[in-house]
Symmetry: D2
Subunit: 129 residues, 4 copies
Amino acid sequence: MAELTIQFRVRYPEVDQMGCVHHSRFLQYFEMGRVELLRQQGFSYADLEKAGVFFAVVRIEAKYRSPARYDDELSLTTRIVKQGTVRIDHEYVLKRGQTVLAEGMSTIACVDRTGQVQQIPEFMAGGTV
Amino acid sequence: MAELTIQFRVRYPEVDQMGCVHHSRFLQYFEMGRVELLRQQGFSYADLEKAGVFFAVVRIEAKYRSPARYDDELSLTTRIVKQGTVRIDHEYVLKRGQTVLAEGMSTIACVDRTGQVQQIPEFMAGGTV
Amino acid sequence: MAELTIQFRVRYPEVDQMGCVHHSRFLQYFEMGRVELLRQQGFSYADLEKAGVFFAVVRIEAKYRSPARYDDELSLTTRIVKQGTVRIDHEYVLKRGQTVLAEGMSTIACVDRTGQVQQIPEFMAGGTV
Amino acid sequence: MAELTIQFRVRYPEVDQMGCVHHSRFLQYFEMGRVELLRQQGFSYADLEKAGVFFAVVRIEAKYRSPARYDDELSLTTRIVKQGTVRIDHEYVLKRGQTVLAEGMSTIACVDRTGQVQQIPEFMAGGTV
């Protein structure tokens, strides 16, 4: 199954007054992971949207193990665990060095410009599994 | 069990280029729900933090049913479903009119200034259950 | 000239690890001010966009006097200081009680769906000045 | 005077429903520019804060020339134009390829943990000018 690890640095406005990355931000990191995994597979999500292929998050789950701090260098591993005709399930592990900060999973569904569910295009089937 | 419904309006930067509230924002709405529920119970989260009582999200789950749009008036119902000595579980239902847009649940843990788990203060026990 | 004061409360993820509302957020508050001023004049910005009338920020300026904190109740006064055929200049004063936290000004330009400058619709001329 | 150009990619939640990076985000990009310029000079802003040296934005100005889109690769040039005993003025140019998207300037002031203005530490004087 497709998998990719990306590295990035925590930005100042992503951190709250507890000095921790706000938990909602982790979902934005997960999205960055999906987009870069797609790019590795030869697809630009920006181009897919122009072609009328959108992916909407229908379910998300996250477990927070340890806080991420401002300026931390994080690594995020994104992995496709299941791909059906309209849905894709991803799993995520976010780390700082060897420390697991969070784990997550999501289900995204392929939708058209109006938000109606549509089949994942055939040209993506080979790429993503 | 404690429960509160709040109303608010979707802001422009909360909406992405699909014209939908970004899924990560829903977690920020849930947090607003928890804070207002706390306020209804007589507690200011801002004051709690000053007193060394912090709550960290340790688990979150959300199901997205239908998109929220810019300028929509939303109602969010937040409910405590379980309160232990260190953890509180909440459930959330986000609606526009009668349409359910999303459902969620979270577990928060009481931590001190350094992030160590601590017992929920006794004065909150009466208030929150 | 049109003017409106709105009240709102600082949300948790709007505050950074210095315990202050991040300076970039003030621009989002200013935008809320413009939108509510428009609503007071009888226009929904959401509807304007559907009708092909967009406003893009072309210039912004802000002076920060004093920090805003989590859970603060703020009041923002938004005022139109100049309205031309394609541009509108606003001024903003953000306060907590009597304390001025920030002042700002912006110029927005009327653009169409493709981003090309267009004249502000006639039906808005009466409303906004 | 110190100057640095950084490259980065526009993230999905940074783009609004007009398909453009929200204007408030540019201030967050400018901040990334300042932080990386500092790092090039041998300083970690995270460490400075731990040592009680904070920088607060007291004035900001931005002119928006052309929109930035989702997934664009942008380059931001940050330059110190003036450094006094307590304040530093920066200028910013944000580009996509050869196209200037925005220009900005800011004044930041050195403050202590309580927000009181303090002199920029001597060890930074050599680094930043």
